[in-house]
């Protein structure tokens, strides 16, 4: 049951009504059952993994708080985290590691033929990386004393499996969510309205914009060597908006649904393509919950920026390489992560130079140039993220680069369909909305408008979703992670 389907929206509506009809102390029961049912619709066998991760987190949390000595606590933490990571490695990385091992084994074994080891070929359970990270952060938080161990198994299970965020985040942290689960989800009309607004906006991003771009992107990334350079170029630009609208659309829907049920999630995206540098993009605007996770549980423990410049650069590279592999077990994801790490390193190195340029250029010009440069750097890295393999990624870049001098002339030969112009118009609308939101957040002025002005905006949004939405057409990109 995909969240971008009518059946899911009906399911969510029914859960919401029953949720508020129940006394607050029983609401967690309903939400847990709903979450388990929702996850089982992908494949009931996945519930075993979800149960494993939750069970390990619960037992590990209790053990960490059980009054053990320092060394024993550390051992409990290591065992619990290793048990979490084991699931991730088994389902996500084993085949990748086997693939890496094969060419290494050939000379070691002194055989003529290429070594072909058997693969597990297990299907990656939806949202596995998200809930495993959620469990690890809970364990580390308990170990650090940031949050007491949750004794109520049901509450912790709901924290891990809460269906709005289960398959693609945001990665909520225990100190934020567990107290809300205990409180049961409070009905606050303003929060429900806010949630509905966000749910609608997320749906527009996903089913109207992102899914409308799928055809163009697929056309450019399938056999790029045989596609026209303009087709490939359009695919690359459109993919930047597809991935953004797909993922942030899901996040908006998740935050909106949680708000409707009386829970508060943190923002996961803040107009990332308006970032003025790659550091801002990652630290404050794109997939913020994952960035926080890596910052708190990897980057800072590695020493962060406190151990000298070289160590800072090394830490950034490590964090981004791991982040790349978190997204997928493939060389393309590793390159994508490393490229983003390198981008940060270069940005750190160039900061004095950039400060000097900023002093020369008019402020608005520097800001726009920074935004454009950052966007195009991110665009370039998305090629590796989207391509199925290195060969495709290089073919995409080669096709564009090779045709660069002739591109202006080739633009006229492209077949510009109505669907293309509609997509361009929707992207332009998205950029306009985000730019306005950047200057004056909607929450600051929309609620102050009367229904006569506000409601037409809502009906127009609903009209977009109903008339132009691609319903149930495509999974969310981040579900595969």
């Amino acid at each position: 049951m995909l969240p971008n389907s009518l059946i899911f929206l009906a399911f969510f509506g029914a859960v919401t009504l029953v949720h508020y009809a129940l006394p607050r102390r029983y609401r967690w029961w309903l939400l847990l059952i709903a979450s388990i049912y929702f996850y089982s619709t992908f494949d009931p066998r996945y519930l075993l993994l979800l149960g494993w991760s939750t069970g390990i987190a619960w037992l590990g949390g209790l053990a960490l708080e059980g009054g053990h000595a320092g060394g024993a606590r550390r051992l409990w933490l290591q065992l619990s985290v290793a048990a979490q990571l084991a699931v991730l490695i088994l389902f996500k990385y084993v085949d990748f590691l086997i693939g890496i091992a094969e060419p290494v084994l050939q000379p070691l074994l002194s055989v003529q033929e290429a070594v072909a080891l058997p693969r597990l070929e297990w299907l990656l359970p939806a949202g596995l990386s998200f809930y495993v990270f959620s469990c690890i952060s809970y364990l580390v938080d308990v170990w650090r004393g940031d949050v007491p161990a949750e004794r109520h198994f049901g509450h912790l299970a709901l924290h891990v499996s809460f269906f709005p965020k289960l398959i693609a985040g945001p990665i909520e942290r225990a100190p934020d969510l567990l107290p809300q689960i205990r409180a049961g989800g409070v009905f606050v009309p303003e929060q429900v309205v806010f949630g509905l607004q966000l749910l609608l906006w997320g749906l527009i991003k996903k089913v109207v914009i992102a899914d409308g771009l799928v055809g163009f992107v697929d056309a450019g990334f399938s056999s790029p060597a045989f596609q026209s350079p303009v087709t490939v170029l359009i695919a690359v630009y459109f993919y930047a908006f597809q991935i953004y609208c797909d993922f942030s659309g899901y996040s908006d829907m998740a935050i909106g649904m949680a708000a409707i049920l009386g829970f508060r999630f943190r923002a996961n995206f803040r107009r990332p393509y308006l970032s003025r540098n790659i550091s801002e993009f990652w630290s404050a605007r794109w997939h913020i919950s994952l960035s926080r996770w890596f910052r708190d549980y990897l980057y800072i423990p590695l020493g962060g920026s406190r151990a000298g410049r070289l160590r800072l650069y090394l830490n950034l590279m490590i964090v981004f390489a791991v982040s790349g592999l978190w997204h997928g077990a493939a060389l393309t994801f590793l390159i994508w992560g490393a490229a983003n790490g390198l981008g940060q390193v270069v940005w750190h190195m160039c900061r004095p130079l950039l400060a000097r340029i900023a002093g020369i250029l008019p402020g608005w010009l520097f800001a726009w140039l920074s935004v454009l440069l950052t966007f195009h750097f991110v665009l370039l890295t998305w090629v590796f993220f989207r391509a199925g393999d290195m060969q495709t990624a290089l073919a995409v870049l080669g096709r564009i680069w090779g045709a660069m001098p002739a591109l202006p002339g080739l633009l006229g030969s492209y077949s510009y369909t109505g669907g293309f112009w509609l997509s361009v118009a929707l992207i332009a609308g998205l950029i306009l909305v985000e730019w306005l939101e950047e200057r004056r957040p909607v929450q600051g002025w929309l609620p102050a408008l009367g229904p006569m002005l506000r409601w037409p905006v809502y009906y127009a949004g609903l009209g977009l979703v109903i008339l132009l939405g691609h319903w149930g057409a495509a999974e969310f990109v981040y579900m595969q992670f």
Binding site: V188, W282, V319, Q344
Partner: protein, 341 residues
């Protein structure tokens, strides 16, 4: 991502600050909500009326539209997947009727296996009983739910389905169609597609029907690999039973039921894998038991000039087939029992 020098400020929540307690005017909220929904439903109702009107005005090839708007019982009904679709394209349908001397209704759908075809047959029987059914057989549809339950649950199939009691009855009678029930009743698929209602013809008919295929080994192999992926043999018995139910229903209603193997070029038929043979042997036994005639035209029209892609008849091939081969055959064999049974 992790640069603590550029760390976001206080982890600003996505939500506005807590309102002043729970004293908010909940009753007023619900009054506004009911009004908002009521206005929304009125607007939606207007959209739905426009969408239904447009579906009825622009409907042409869609099998559900044809069933809903059938005025007289068709003499011959052709069911099947995309291979059968050209028999209903543009001038091919009238040419087939002229050659057969009988009204022919083509209800084939792209990617339509046994389950969606049984659904169409069930809906049609609720409106009118034809005298004969020609089921164009494709062995690959017996191997995957993709062409069966999943295809029937594809809401896009119902985007041009007018409101009709026969279609509603067929949905209720087929559990595989239940996922589309809500969309059909609310008309959501129609409203969702109301901006794309200009031409009710398949993409193949609009853009590829006049092409002539230039044989390509790689494309031919890819096509076969796509249609006949590894595995899936375990479903054959299920779908053979499905077509058997259609046959039993047809015979109970006095409808003649025949199986047709459409022309296919040798570069396609020679690549058919072992799973094709297994499907055909499972079918043969059942068809013989029910004494169903199999019209094997798979050896006709062997030249590539008759195909617009690896295995679909183009305009030239379809016209030639309809007028010179299938049409006369349908004309020769009259109602059930007259010949060929």
């Amino acid at each position: 991502m992790a640069s603590d020098s550029a760390r976001p400020g206080p982890l600003s929540a996505a939500l506005p600050a807590d309102p002043a307690g729970t004293e908010a005017p909940i009753r007023a909220f619900w009054r506004r909500a009911v009004l908002f929904v009521a206005i929304g439903l009125l607007i939606y109702g207007a959209f739905l009326a426009i969408a239904e009107y447009r579906v009825r005005q622009t409907g042409e090839r869609n099998p559900l539209f044809r069933i809903a708007t059938v005025t007289a019982p068709p003499d011959v009904v052709i069911l099947g997947a995309s291979h059968a679709m050209p028999l209903g394209f543009e001038e091919i349908g009238p040419a087939l009727e002229a050659a057969a001397g009988r009204p022919v209704m083509t209800l084939a759908i792209e990617g339509g296996g046994v389950v969606p075809n049984a659904f169409l047959f069930s809906a049609l029987l609720r409106k009118a009983a034809p005298r004969e059914v020609i089921y164009v057989l494709d062995s690959f549809v017996f191997l995957s739910p993709q062409w069966n339950e999943e295809r029937l649950a594809d809401s896009g199939l119902f985007a041009r389905a007018p409101y009709d009691a026969a279609i509603f009855g067929a949905i209720m009678a087929e559990p595989a169609a239940w996922p589309v029930l809500a969309g059909y009743l609310t008309g959501f698929d129609k409203v969702n597609g109301m901006l794309h209602l200009d031409i009710d013809r398949s993409e193949a008919e609009l853009t590829r029907f006049d092409r002539v295929y230039r044989a390509n080994d790689q494309i031919d192999s890819q096509r076969i690999a796509y249609l006949f992926p590894a595995g899936g043999d375990d479903l054959v018995a299920t779908y053979v039973a499905g077509i058997e139910r259609m046959i039993v229903d047809a015979q109970a209603s006095g409808i003649r039921f025949r199986i047709l193997l459409m022309p296919a070029p040798p570069r396609y038929s020679e690549r058919l894998p072992a799973s094709h043979t297994r499907v055909m042997s499972a079918l043969t036994e059942m068809l013989e038991r029910h004494r169903i005639e199999v019209i094997d035209h798979s050896g006709l029209l062997q030249d590539d000039e008759n195909y617009y892609d690896t295995d679909h008849l183009n305009r030239q091939g379809a016209l030639s087939y309809a007028t010179d081969m299938l049409g006369p055959l349908l004309a020769d064999t009259g109602p059930p029992g007259s010949s060929g049974d």
